[in-house]
Amino acid sequence: MNTSRLMHDPLPWFTALLVFFVFGMDALRPVFAAVFPELDRPVFTQDSFPALTAAHLQLVAISSAVAIIVGVGIGIFVTRPAGREFRPMLERVVAIGQTFPPVAVLAVAAPVLGFGEWPALIALALYGLLPIVQSTVAGIESVPGSAREAAEGLGMSAARILRRIELPLAMPVIIAGIRTSVIINIGTAALASTVGARSLGTPIIVGLAGFNTAYIIQGAIVVGLLAIVVDLGFDRLLRFLDRWREAEAPGASAAQVPGTP
């Protein structure tokens, strides 16, 4: 019964592919050796791919968690009456911040904060903040004013309106922003290797430095698959959050109950 769904759902396939490349890179040695016969070491072995992937995910998880907490917090603050006046300023900062390429953020962070994980984490968190702030504000703005007014008129407190009405209704938009942020971070975390943090960018950087195209491809494939799998996961989460919207309008026969225009 589920076979056709399985065929059409790419998530399990890409997950399997990712697991295969992370844990089975060594098994592909003959393939890489055949494609790149001029290379002495056709597979990156200075560090294991499972360890690199774990380090990469850790960078993304920590920086994204910080970005989500701070970003959603800022988004909520500037949509409250008390924080409303900060909104124009914030929007300007967000607009300027997003024109900055991630690599530039890292390049600025390293001399200031030194090399290693810290500058990478801070740069990733800062860069990931922007789409989340933006989507939180947009999501809360999209809540119908009539629902808010009615809820207030019925006697709900501002905190309850935020928790039970604004945030749940804004959630799909907020999650879409988090998705953008996390996907950008997965890509940018590869660049973190340039400032000395361990990540899936390491084989890419080493490959670039040593003219080893196989290393570059290996790092890039795993980063790419990781981004695809996480993106598909978000897609599924969004569909789950939106399920009440999918509730079908009842058939004409059920809708026409006498006496209920």
Partner: protein
């Protein structure tokens, strides 16, 4: 129940409500009516403190409303608005249960209350309880909106043009509904509209507002028969005041019991205006009248309807 004492409100220096005094007794159905910008909506929103008044006092159950916490005050007042404002990601049941849950009613009592209200508003509970607002027609949504306003058994119902965005047939049905609920429950209702026919049909008392001031305050009959100013007769529609007066009485007072007439019977609860209109349309001067069960009661004569009455 509610008293306005020299209440005023200005937005950025522009006066919206100017020195309004009004006292609403328990069980009254007060309709505030006026053209757009007359301050009628502001007046309503001041009662549950969605808008704060700048001058005068507003009393609820004898106390100045500022002495209540806004949320506590609103929980004791039902609130229904033109845009309905159902919470889109909540089912009909969750929407109606909003206030009872805030009041901390036990789950089973909330559930029973939802069932009771769905039945009261002619929505089969089994069918509608689990639906989402977007699965309902506009009229059904406003029924849920009214049910939600009634859910906490409020002392007073505040309604801000609740039927303004509905089509005429649906509006008519919901007006009938709210009149029935008022009659059955004896709830105090403060209702804002710009539709004079709606006001005449529902109100026990009409307050006519213009530029933030009360122009006239009286029963529908007083407003029609003794308009206090040109503005009033203008607003109620000078040309058909007579017909509107006929609309206030039902056939039952003038029916000649035991007599008969040809044609389809009209219900005894029909207004004299409807009876006259039907007689003219049919080209007859008498109509048979039947009671609510369809049994013949008698007949009504056009001459009786148009005869001058003291």
């Amino acid at each position: 129940m509610i008293a306005f004492e020299h209440v005023g409100k200005a937005y950025d220096g522009r006066v919206a409500v100017d020195d309004v005094s009004l006292s609403i007794a328990e069980g009254e159905f007060v309709v505030v009516i006026g053209p757009s910008g007359s301050g009628k909506s502001t007046m309503l929103k001041m009662v549950n403190r969605l808008v704060e008044h700048d001058r005068g006092r507003i009393l609820f159950a004898g106390d100045e409303i500022r002495r209540f916490k806004p949320e506590a005050l609103r929980l004791r007042m039902g609130y229904a608005i033109q845009s309905i404002g159902l919470i889109p990601h909540w089912t009909v049941e969750q929407n109606i249960a909003a206030v009872p849950e805030l009041l901390g009613w036990p789950r089973s009592r909330v559930r029973d209350r939802v069932t009771e209200l769905l039945e009261l508003l002619d929505l089969a509970p089994a069918t509608y309880r689990r639906r989402y607002p977007h699965q309902l027609s506009g009229g059904q949504q406003q029924r849920v909106g009214v049910a939600r306003a009634l859910a906490g058994d409020p002392a007073i119902l505040l309604m801000d043009e609740p039927f303004g965005s509905l089509d005429p047939v649906t509006r008519d049905a919901l007006q009938q509904e709210i009149a029935r609920i008022h009659k059955a429950s004896g709830k105090t209702i403060l209702f804002v509209t710009h539709d004079i026919d709606e006001a005449l049909r529902l109100a026990t008392r009409i307050v006519l507002l213009d530029q933030g001031r009360v122009v006239q305050d009286g029963t529908p009959r007083e407003i029609l028969a003794y308009p206090a100013a040109d503005f009033v007769s203008e607003f109620v529609g000078r040309g058909d005041i007579g017909l509107k007066l006929l609309g206030l009485d039902t056939v039952s007072g003038l029916v000649r019991r035991g007599e008969s007439a040809a044609g389809d019977a009209i219900p005894i609860s029909a207004s004299l205006r409807e009876a006259l209109s039907i007689a003219i349309a049919r080209g007859v001067d008498r109509l048979p009248v039947a009671d609510d069960q369809g049994r013949a009661v008698g007949a009504i004569a056009v001459a009786d309807i148009t005869k001058p009455r003291a």
